[in-house]
Symmetry: C2
Subunit: 250 residues, 2 copies
DNA sequence: GAGTGGTCTAGACCACTGA
DNA sequence: CAGTGGTCTAGACCACTCA
């Protein structure tokens, strides 16, 4: 039999926004405005539940969200504090080339320049982070949008991890896109730098040797196992990466 | 008076890990392993609370965390589904130069190359995204670590937003670091590209003209107001950005 | 209409740690 | 020791939407 005290109405939402969202926004506003500089103590859950007349779970959800986004640090016994501002956590999206070109409605084509199935040399092994002699597939190709070269790709694939790669015709599908379907969830680490185009790269991208190129190097793992290593070279004047930081997003 | 039914013991944790974390990890494992490819329906809250013998709030917390990290999409009436893999959300940290150098224990120095207080020209206004004739401060400087030039900085500051900038001696503190303290929480958008070093940049960085440089361009806002715009030029062979993607981190 | 997620409550026990 | 956050429960009402 339900307790009568439990039957009272849930406090109505002010408009369509959840109670905890309301509290979270109020706290964010105080932080972003500078009223509560880093190190300031945020009101405790007890104080907040009194102020907002709601249950502890509700204020806890608001504070937990702020903690998850890195805006506050929570410490037992001491309380919650506005986090020290640290290196901005920017969100950088790196899309698959094929999808990116096709999303813009441009015609896409990939040209396979070279393909070599072999046992990893010392150099290969270091690049891919696998033992020497692991069976690998080495590919170089160029991606075209509207028949103009946009990216040069130099890739190694660990055949122990993805043996079926040997059977794929990479003149038809880009290696990146194919791998994405094979190993849908993986970890990646990117290194981004600028280099002067080598003779090879210049030829592939139809630019002059020495022109600045943006180079994105990516190593992909899945469950601790190295899947692939790729070096993507973009002509400097034709591509840029965009990274965003918004404190409310963490 | 407490209800006797409420007094029974909380189900003991398996080790030190929270119940909802345990559930979350189990679901993540199924997703990362490929057992549940994108589009697969995740068990409903009802199914999970039966399987794990816990309350709905607990499984809800696990599922909400997965949704927040982008790993699953939740839809009313339909259920929760493994998300389609999209452009990887990489986390890219861009630190303040001064802090970054000092964190490595290197000696830091900034040299102010030029300083100009003026009304925004058309070009300034476009860069900073403010109306023409807004009062601005234009700075160019070079940052040194161990007395070697590491970065060239070209910055505009909106004096309407940060009037006290006029009184600062930027030979002593880097503009970026100072602004960080003035406007602790702000939004930033970065564009990253590669360019061949101009004559000026080459001179500042003590490199040869035409050498590839990594250029990070950042526009910072606070509450919709443009604060500053900065172009940072790094010698291509001396710097690289690192971005990480890890699906469990979202 | 019924199943699903979204939110909320009023408690409860616990671990941790600063005063 | 007492305050704080961390977690959990057994309900409840609601909105949405698919079948």
């Amino acid at each position: 039999m339900p307790d009568i005290r439990r039957l009272r109405r849930t406090s109505p939402r002010t408009n369509g926004v959840a109670r905890y969202t309301e509290i979270q926004r109020a706290l964010e506003t105080a932080i972003f405005s500078g009223d509560w500089p880093p190190g300031t103590r945020v009101p405790s859950e007890q104080e907040l539940l009194k102020r907002y007349r709601c249950s502890r779970m509700t204020v806890n959800k608001a504070l937990s969200a702020l903690a998850a986004s890195g805006l506050v640090v929570r410490r037992r016994r001491s309380g919650s504090f506005v986090a020290q501002r640290q290196g901005e956590k920017n969100v950088l999206q790196i899309h698959d080339i094929e999808e990116e070109i096709q999303r813009e409605g441009k015609s896409y084509r990939v040209k396979l320049v070279s393909r070599s199935e072999r046992k990893a040399t010392k150099r290969d092994a270091a690049r891919l982070d696998v033992p020497v002699s692991t069976r690998i597939l080495a590919l170089t190709c160029v991606h075209y949008g509207e028949e103009r070269p946009l990216v040069a790709e130099d890739r190694l694939i660990n055949l122990d991890a993805v043996p079926s790669a040997t059977e794929v015709d990479f003149n038809e599908t880009s290696p990146g896109n194919w791998l994405l379907k094979q190993v849908p969830w993986s970890e990646a680490e990117h290194h981004i730098r600028a280099v002067n185009a080598s003779e090879d790269i210049a030829e592939h991208l139809e630019i002059t040797e020495g022109e600045a190129c943006l180079v994105v190097e990516r190593r992909t793992r899945h469950g601790g196992r190295s899947i692939t290593h790729v070096v993507l070279s973009y002509p400097g004047d034709g591509y840029q990466l965009v990274a965003r930081f918004s404190p409310s997003q963490g």
